[in-house]
Symmetry: C2
């Protein structure tokens, strides 16, 4: 089975490392020759090219590890070049826009699209920071199409498990985007706001603890990618943000009124919810 | 040199472990007999008692590792029982209230108070979770009094370094409380609000990534301790909260207006500030 990875960034590089480690033959495609050289020199891929032409027709599975808009463009451009029966998957962090732009192309008679979101990443980017540990025990979501076959879904699920993902879940694109607006996008918005709220240079290495480090790690953010993710999920993100602001308001009001009991209850409710996560 | 630790919780237990490891003779005082037994059985302390009487007059340095209000009560109750020339230190996360209640007692001719804040902790509590790793590389702040001697400040600084703290800084109680309202208390308020904002059970183990785990770890919170910390620093905390809400507002407005450039600038500013921390 020949696997292709388009886009050897942090995520694409990690797909390549994990799948190569598992024994698959990996073809890497990236517009940057240095990235291809690095991937070949470090045996992250078996073959590499800066152009997709001439390679796509030979690959059984292709993971498009590009930003959402580039993923849409790539599949629209090359949809006639895939091998008959190939499975094409993606890694986009938002699903409605990607799926609604591409589901038209899905036809298991020619090639099959399996849309997925590996919920894993790092504040660092690029193939040099790709690392199998990023996927280890992480979550993986597939947003299946009505036209998807059991075989194709099962194969992507198997590969996800082989790459180290723990839970593979199935969600509709809408449910995915709603959930991710809270669990991932809101957390990034918060980290940005917290970091920017430091007007006096309080956050020096001398006065912070682990909690500040933890809450702001993701404030070191890839603005091009996240602009796409935020704006393509604006409706749900604004709703999640509103719910967070309402909760902040409750805490603020309890503090202002010196309402010890309410503040305690709000802490206890958060503690209870957090403990369920562990 | 005989060191006493009053209150063998997470922080007191870690003080004991670190200082015992360094070779000092440690006397532990805790109202809970089980805690004393655990500390003795695990050689975290050399001597232990559930009552302070009969021990305080023999100790050269005493670390009061209690909640802020209990720290104030303890020193007021026992201020005539300390050894002449003893150094008494604390671990309170807020300093104005503690210092303003106690600085009156400071007199290097009888005993000396050195107020300090080890900026380290864990979402877990109790001596069983005490761990030298918590202090390793962490920050330590001393809020000196005008009447403090160089010798006493130097000794606490030396002990802090021996326990593993990296930076020892000197701040006024007011500056300490202002900074900590942002770097520590605001982060805890955010974590509580984020956890409570989950109205639909989105934060299951199946749909979250590292960022959500990181931002909500401290939502598992000791409500009794943090109620004291929040209310004793209400003025600065409300101001920090306001600054954070203003920054959230900017992000929200950019999203609503589809203002890509502003959103990008806000991300870039956060990224730049965060990188300086590393």
């Amino acid at each position: 089975m020949k696997i292709g990875i388009v886009g050897l960034g942090l995520i694409g590089g990690t797909y390549a490392k994990c799948l190569k480690h598992y024994g698959y033959h990996i073809t890497g495609i990236d517009h940057n020759q240095e990235t291809i050289d690095y991937a070949l020199n470090n045996t992250i891929i078996d073959t590499g090219s800066t152009t997709a032409e001439g390679y796509l027709g030979d690959l059984d599975i292709i993971f498009i590890c590009l930003y959402p808009n580039d993923t849409i463009k790539f599949i629209k451009k090359y949809h006639t070049s895939f091998k008959k029966g190939a499975i094409i998957s993606d890694v986009s962090g938002i699903k409605r826009n990607v799926v609604f732009n591409l589901d038209f192309y899905n036809d298991p008679e020619t090639f099959e699209l399996v849309f997925a979101h590996p919920i894993a990443g790092s504040e660092k980017s690029g193939i040099k920071h790709s690392d199998k540990a990023i996927f280890d025990g992480a979550n993986f979501v597939i947003t299946p199409l009505e036209t998807n076959t059991e075989d194709a879904l099962g194969l992507i699920e198997t590969l996800a498990k082989q790459m180290g993902f723990k839970n593979v879940s199935y969600l509709s694109p809408k449910n995915h985007d709603e959930i991710i607006s809270y669990t991932s996008q809101l957390t990034h918005i918060i980290a940005i706001a917290l970091m920017n709220a430091d007007k006096k240079g309080f956050s020096t290495n001398k006065f912070i603890g682990d909690s500040f480090q933890d809450l702001t790690r993701i404030a070191n953010i890839n603005d091009t990618l996240w602009n796409e993710l935020f704006f393509n999920n604006k409706d749900f993100l604004l709703r999640s943000l509103k719910q967070f602001e309402d909760e902040l308001g409750k805490l603020k009001s309890a503090l202002e009124k010196k309402d010890y009991d309410t503040l305690k209850q709000l802490m206890q409710s958060a503690t209870e919810k957090r403990r369920k996560l562990q």
